[in-house]
């Protein structure tokens, strides 16, 4: 297998769960996917990343880099408690945009950069899914 480190011997325990012997060193890894990309649990440590692999299933990245457009997406399923900005507002990095509630906790989604709000898709009281776009900045 191209890309596999030398000395690796991999055995599948169940779909997505692998035991790896790197020489004599024992590793265990579980591979899964979420809305952001791959999640690998490597001996209890969680690593998240996107693969540049051409066969990646993702139907298009939602991340557009620091300079251009930025979609603020819900990191978890929940409910929109408050929308703090309107389309057209200028915002600063770190400014609160939307308050989302899940599991009895309120979480403020903050602007990742200075910019201007180009669209607000979040509606107060609405239920949202993980990965759903709430606000778009430019």
């Amino acid at each position: 297998m191209k890309g596999l480190p030398p000395n690796w011997q991999i055995s599948e325990i169940e779909p997505g769960l692998y035991s790896i012997l790197d020489g004599t060193r024992s590793l265990e890894a579980r591979v899964s996917r979420n809305h952001k990309g791959y999640v690998v649990d490597l001996n209890g440590q969680i690593l998240e990343f996107e693969l540049e692999d051409p066969r990646e299933l993702s139907s298009g990245s939602r991340h557009h880099g620091r300079q251009g457009r930025a979609d603020i997406v819900a990191p978890m399923p929940g409910k929109v408690v408050r929308v703090l900005v309107s389309a057209g507002d200028a915002v600063e990095e770190g400014q609160g945009l939307v308050v989302v509630e899940a599991m009895k906790m309120q979480n403020e989604m903050k602007a990742p950069k200075d910019g201007k709000v180009t669209a607000v898709s979040a509606k107060e009281g609405a239920s949202i899914a993980a990965g759903q776009v709430l606000v778009t900045l430019e």
Binding site: I10, V31, Q45, I46, M76, G78, K104, N107
Partner: protein, 498 residues
Amino acid sequence: MFRKVLVANRGEIALRVIRALREMGIASVAVYSDADRNSLAVRMADEAVRLGPAPSAESYLRMDRILEAAALTGAEAIHPGYGFLSENDVFAAACESAGVKFIGPSAAAIRAVGSKTAARQVAKAAGAPIVPGIEEPVDSMDEARRVAREIGYPVLLKAVAGGGGKGMRRVDREADLEAALRDAASEAERSFRNAEVYIEKLVLEPRHIEIQVLGDEHGHMIHLGERECSLQRRHQKVIEESPSPVMLQYPELRHAMGEAALKVARAAGYYNAGTCEFLVDANRNFYFLEMNTRLQVEHPVTELVTVLDLVEWQLRIASGERLTLQQEDIQWRGWAIECRVYAEDPTADFMPSPGRIESVREPSGPGIRLDSAVYAGMTVPMEYDPLLAKLAVWASSRGRAIERMRRAISEYRISGIKTNLEFFDRVLADSEFRTGSFHTNYIPDFFARAGRSVAPTEDEMTAAKAIAVFHEAKRKPVTAGPAAGSRWRASLHAEVLR
């Protein structure tokens, strides 16, 4: 003893009570919201009754539905667990009226110490030390200003009906008082339907230590020592232990705090299991904070060091039995630590992480106690708090308990949602935590020192990516030639169109 008991709760605490009932030969009745139809509590109980839709207000907070379920099944008593209706004196009284035994203190005792301000008055009258402040909710900005000036900044605003840090604000200077008061009151209103807030002196760098009490309905009460609960994030406890490390050096403190707790509880006419919370400053001055009139989340650490079964005693006491233990019978042996495993994402500021659990591997072997309510395939509901499980260990010393907990965490795997398991391992490895010398700001300080999460090394990232590529290749075998790519795309296309 009761023949059948209804458990008016969900999650791990419902299982905890159902297990005790089964061991005592008492039939158990679970109640459930639609989000919990498939829960382990429903499946492990002898009977189960639906309450309503997922939101707590339509299910676990519906006193009428719960009492109907008790009547339907013939349950003689109700165990309220913690949270929900467990500290609700109206519910306790409603149970009494319905002829169903409420497993906990009397409605009158809940009223006497159920609100923080009432509890402070009881404690003051009983001669237990309290944090300087007032015993009444503030009813105007002017009064708030006057009180805060009197006791001196920094002060803490707290919800009268509160808990878990909701409706709580630290205020360092008068300029911030008005905004903080408004925020606290509105959060208190949202969380508890009670906007009342009071003010107290902020004790700097305190430990948060609580004392477990246990009393029967015939006037006999003892304490079971302390739990160290200083490790909190957003005013939520995350790691608890018993004993408190401070007691190793100052064993007389346990006795003094135990006596203070008993004074408060006795003054309130308290019985059954209850907990008095204290702040302890660097000079080991302790101040009574409030009383939790129910079983605590972290009761397992007390059970592990005293080898008593608190839920069994709750049931025995509620059925009218005498507490046959004397204070001198209680011994504390070894060390217990508990980690609260939450569905939250350490890399995203510990935001809640509800969703579907793909797989679970639980730790076991010597010295492990796991109180969990999750299973592979379960969808963790977003309507309730994010506690998935409590992982507790016992060992002969604090050092051994820490290593045992780290070993248990190394075996524990939950996939599909994020948890704080990695975070625990980092704290348990932290040299400051290991000294046992810390206060309630430990976790924010730890984050400031060590970051919220640790970035993987390049080697780890390379290994993880290699496995992911291997996994993809295994799922969709690549055949030679350019056809493979297009076949791949064709199948992807089919998937998208579905």
